[in-house]
């Protein structure tokens, strides 16, 4: 009994698991895992099955331009929708989506690392909670509203264009709205809090004593940051990159509002097939390709990450304890 109360304190969910057979025997109560049954059913009915249906639809074919529901009987199954989705009409959109997402993720990382580090280590602790709350405000502002805000700022008579003209850097209105650059600015903005917060949590959890020890041992600030602090905050950086990259790949609102035809992305391509062309099968196939792009990118990134880590480890003389993952 005593051992598991001690264990629970730091290992959280793992400890009760070990002792549960004993407890189960003592209590003749109803099996509590049944409590999760409604949620199981819910997720299967309104997540797993519908998403499975998308896979099925991607194999079907459109009946006519006026009927939304495709024919999905096994005798019409084919990969025609996939063939069509990789034609030159659509394929560049997927590559553009990948490019915007990768660039967007890295810009978010570059902005967030110094920012989160500043917030977690340099700001007076009395102000920290308030400033963190301020980061949450844009995160909880409606996605659509934030993007409309950028539409106002980026429009040819908006802040950026007007400002540059008044300062004299430009003579004519600057067209940022409905370009790829516009989308890039919009996505960096929209996903930035998702990078800042996990990084903040990670920097917050690193021991100040380790940084001080590094400095006391003669390492410069830069060296301390890259060899002590950043390796410890890596789990946060990885979490942030995943949280930004995955939803960014499927973004639909930002490209529709800021991209127009030049900044079209996979999400708006898929949506268009469902809402405008009414070709559900084609849209489903495009969604499958989009997910394939996401998975492929994650696998490549994971491999590159492992290589990079091996390289860095070989060059570093000391091994640091890894920060605990949450």
């Amino acid at each position: 009994m005593t051992t598991d109360t001690v264990g629970t304190a730091d290992t959280g969910a793992a400890a009760p698991k070990a002792s549960s057979p004993v407890r189960n025997k003592r209590r003749r109560g109803a099996p509590k895992f049944l409590l999760a049954l409604p949620a199981w059913t819910w997720f299967i009915l309104f997540f797993a099955l519908p998403v499975g249906l998308v896979l099925l639809y991607s194999l079907g074919e459109q009946v006519s331009a006026f009927v939304q529901k495709p024919d999905v009987s096994p005798d019409v199954w084919s990969l025609d929708n996939f063939d069509k989705a990789i034609e030159p009409e659509y394929m560049p959109v997927f590559w553009r989506t990948l490019k915007i997402s990768i660039i967007g993720t890295f810009i978010c990382l570059l902005i967030s690392v110094p920012f989160a580090y500043w917030l977690a280590t340099k700001v007076d602790p009395r102000w920290r909670g308030l400033l963190l709350g301020l980061v949450l405000v844009p995160f909880w502002t409606n996605f659509l509203v934030r993007t409309i805000g950028w539409q106002l700022i980026l429009s040819p008579n908006g802040l950026v264009s007007d400002g540059l003209q008044k300062v004299g850097l430009r003579d004519d209105p600057l067209a940022l709205l409905y370009t790829q650059t516009g989308v890039q600015i919009g996505v960096v903005y929209n996903y930035l809090p998702l990078m800042i917060l996990p990084l903040y949590v990670a920097f917050d959890r690193t021991e100040p004593a380790l940084r001080e020890a590094s400095k006391d041992l003669g390492a410069s600030r830069v060296k301390t940051f890259f060899q002590v602090t950043m390796p410890l905050a890596m789990p946060g950086a990885i979490a942030g990159m995943l949280l930004v990259f995955i939803p960014l790949m499927g973004d639909y609102i930002t490209p529709v509002l800021l991209g127009g035809a030049k900044g079209n992305m996979a999400g708006s391509l898929v949506a268009g097939q469902f809402l405008e062309t009414f070709n559900w099968s084609q849209g489903a196939a495009m969604a499958v390709i989009m997910i394939a792009f996401i998975l492929a990118a994650l696998i490549v990134a994971a491999l590159l990450g492992l290589l990079l880590r091996a390289g860095l480890r070989a060059n570093r003389r000391i091994t640091l304890p890894q920060a605990t993952r949450s």
Binding site: A30, F43, P50, V51, F115, L119, P138, L197, D204, A239
Partner: protein, 289 residues
């Protein structure tokens, strides 16, 4: 230590200044579009992007027109009901995960994680044909109702969020209190209502409020599954954006922004009273914990 600080003191800390400057720049960036929307909500012009003058016309037209008002009412109703559903489902699942983990819990957590990471557009295009299948082919007419579709769709993602919050709360506390109650002959029902429930209440409340705001803000799934006549406010705004931007749009957005911030502030207070640190609260509220 003292010698180090004595050496450092007279030198001005340029690095810290640079970091602070960067902090200010990032905050300006984070608040720029929100500030713009709030300022332009007072635009008296007929088109949102052309500034005409300062006035309350946008707010007036919001309160005088039925369509935007109805949209907000639909959103509030859907948000309340879907939050109830998600809170019930998620709380039970959270209790089960924290107190009776077993072989099933790994698979269940994978499912929860998949729900959370799947891009919204995929859920949206999956649910639309699914409702058509249920409502028209299988004749379960409830799924032809715009209300049911919105409530159910919103309660999928938020059930996952509530599950994780409740699980984290209970996993952070050992079971000894509940055991003590059992040893003192409390019935399982009493043990739950008098010990477990009060312990998990902050998490349940916070989860419910988050579910409410998640539903209130949902745009992508709503614009796919919603039925004519039952339009939540983001779908109303989205449709207006594609047609023409009127200042009224900025006014609704500002009002809903204030409501969301109010609810989120409430979540923070609930979690703070429950004993969470500010970084813990931030992690909970963004699903990054």
């Amino acid at each position: 230590m003292s010698t180090v600080s004595a050496v450092n003191k007279p030198k001005f800390d340029w690095v810290k200044l640079a970091f602070s400057a960067w902090g200010v720049v990032v905050f300006i960036f984070l608040f720029m579009p929100i500030a713009w929307i709030v300022v332009y909500s007072f635009n008296t012009g007929r088109i949102l992007t052309d500034w005409n003058g300062f006035g309350l016309d946008g707010y007036k037209s919001f309160f005088q027109n039925a369509a935007p008002r109805d949209a907000v009412m639909v959103s509030l109703g859907v948000a309340a009901l879907s939050a109830l559903v998600a809170t019930a489902l998620g709380s039970f699942a959270g209790v089960a995960l924290a107190r009776r983990p077993g072989k099933w819990s790994g698979a269940f957590l994978v499912l929860v994680a998949l729900v959370l990471v799947t891009p919204e557009i995929v859920d949206a295009i999956a649910l639309l044909p699914w409702y058509v299948l249920l409502g028209q082919d299988l004749n379960i007419t409830a799924f032809n109702s715009g209300w049911v579709r919105l409530i159910v769709s919103h309660a999928v993602f938020s059930t996952a969020v509530v599950t994780l919050i409740v699980r984290a709360r209970l996993a952070g506390m050992d079971e000894s209190l509940e055991e003590a109650a059992g040893d003192l002959y409390a019935t399982p029902t009493k043990r739950f209502t008098q010990i477990t429930l009060p312990l998990m209440l902050p998490a349940v409340l916070a989860g419910g409020l988050l579910a409410f705001t998640l539903s209130l803000d949902n745009t992508v799934i709503s614009s796919f599954v919603s039925v004519q006549g039952v339009t939540p406010w983001p779908v109303y705004v989205f449709a207006s954006v594609k047609a023409s931007l009127r200042p009224e749009i900025a006014s609704i957005s500002t009002l809903m922004f204030l409501l969301t911030i109010l609810v989120i502030g409430l979540v923070a207070v609930v979690l703070r009273r429950g004993g969470d640190s500010s970084s813990g609260i931030a992690a909970t509220m963004t699903g990054t914990g």
